[in-house]
Symmetry: C2
Subunit: 245 residues, 2 copies
């Protein structure tokens, strides 16, 4: 039995998220189908994070046990061959010890949210970013973002479907920057609540367009109440970037 750690890129637009579903296509299902073609047996994939429907990844990490004697590089090549018709690619593959677990061994997870701040709808980046018409004040967004950094009760920024035991999370960083018409929101943390990143970005959008102040952000956080949420950003702009172990 070989355990492989895989770094995976995918376009989540046409998938109902990472996790296996009964009646909808998922990233996990595509990977397990490809591995089945390769190994003729069911191989379960475990990911560092379970991205939602429509969310993308540039560096998701997952592990899988393969009941075949195979080099990590050859496994990646064979998997990419079987994945050739779907928008999922394995970027890197390495053999790891049996005590490595993509989810439980993860020390830090990085997400990036990509906003395109312009009047015209998206053509080339359709489904790959969130287009916002109103001019956004990036400095105000960056200032308000700092309110959320640290250990807080993030109930306001938590989906009602969230399965986490506690709403307490420690946000390590949350930075907003502009490059031309693109605005990036970059965040790192050990872990997040369900919908936390999209909920934070939605509120930063309110700040950027002047509807909310930094104080409003602080009050929303302190309310610890989902009803205090400003807005939940669409999945299109969200990317799972990398994991530290």
């Amino acid at each position: 039995m070989n355990r492989f750690k895989l770094t995976i890129e995918y376009n989540g637009a046409n998938y109902h998220g990472w996790q296996l579903q009964n009646s909808a296509p998922s990233i996990q299902e595509e990977l397990e189908m490809a591995a089945f073609k390769l190994c003729q047996t069911e191989c379960r994939f475990f990911a560092a994070g379970r991205t939602d429907a429509g969310v993308h990844a540039k560096g998701m990490v997952a592990h899988v046990d393969i009941p075949r004697d195979m080099e990590a590089f050859k496994f990646m090549e064979a998997m990419n061959y079987h994945l050739k018709d779907v928008p999922i690619s394995i970027l890197h593959s390495e053999e790891v010890d049996e005590d490595f677990h993509a989810r439980f061994s993860a020390k830090k997870r990085y997400y990036r949210y990509h906003i395109i701040n312009r009047r015209a709808k998206l053509s080339l980046q359709r489904g790959l970013a969130w287009q916002i018409k109103e001019p956004l004040d990036v400095q105000a967004m960056q200032d308000a973002a700092q309110v959320l950094v640290g250990k807080h009760d993030f109930t306001t920024f938590r989906s009602v479907q969230c399965q986490s035991k506690s709403p307490l999370k420690t946000l390590e960083s949350l930075n907003v920057s502009r490059e031309g018409e693109s605005i990036y929101v970059d965040t790192s943390a050990i872990s997040y609540l369900h919908h936390q990143v999209r909920s934070m970005v939605g509120c930063l959008y309110y700040v950027g367009k002047g509807k909310w102040t930094k104080d409003d952000m602080e009050n929303a956080l302190k309310a610890a109440d989902r009803h205090a949420l400003g807005f939940n950003a669409p999945p299109d702009g969200l990317y799972f970037m990398k994991v530290e172990y």
Copy 2:
């Protein structure tokens, strides 16, 4: 009658190029259909360049005469509304004099070719770049590119379907640079022969992977013979970037 100069972005993947075709969808057709919905009469669009099937644009320029009294901004907004279901967006619109012609008034045209140099196939950038597996030597590509700069007989780099009267063209610049796994080939010229940019990029690919030297590039140019061409790069990575008037 108002003449508008429009700056247009499009994803060319599912189109048979800019130019109106009898039996295949084109960018021009989509624009003319949208303008028809808006003006209830046929309006002809003239572009600075006629991109091929699969080629994209970030800043194509076109002009159109509109038989309605309408502000440039409102025209853009209404056009984008009618284009909402297709990957074509008008980024900028301005009223111009009747002696402005998107094609004939153009002084310089800029193209960018986007290569992604990595082993794994593309997921997020599928159809938006050319993936090349072999590691490419960007410095060698940049050196060899300089052979092509200046006024030359570009017959080697010309499609057999090219309608240009002369194979003599002046290439103003051709630069190859790397940013992470991306390699960009940027070029500017008054005008190009049909397939010239993709043919030049195809030969630079040969240089990058060590199959051709700078001398081979020089010999290919001097041959002035289509049979001396190394390779024609796929349309996926090619972007019409901007026009100077």
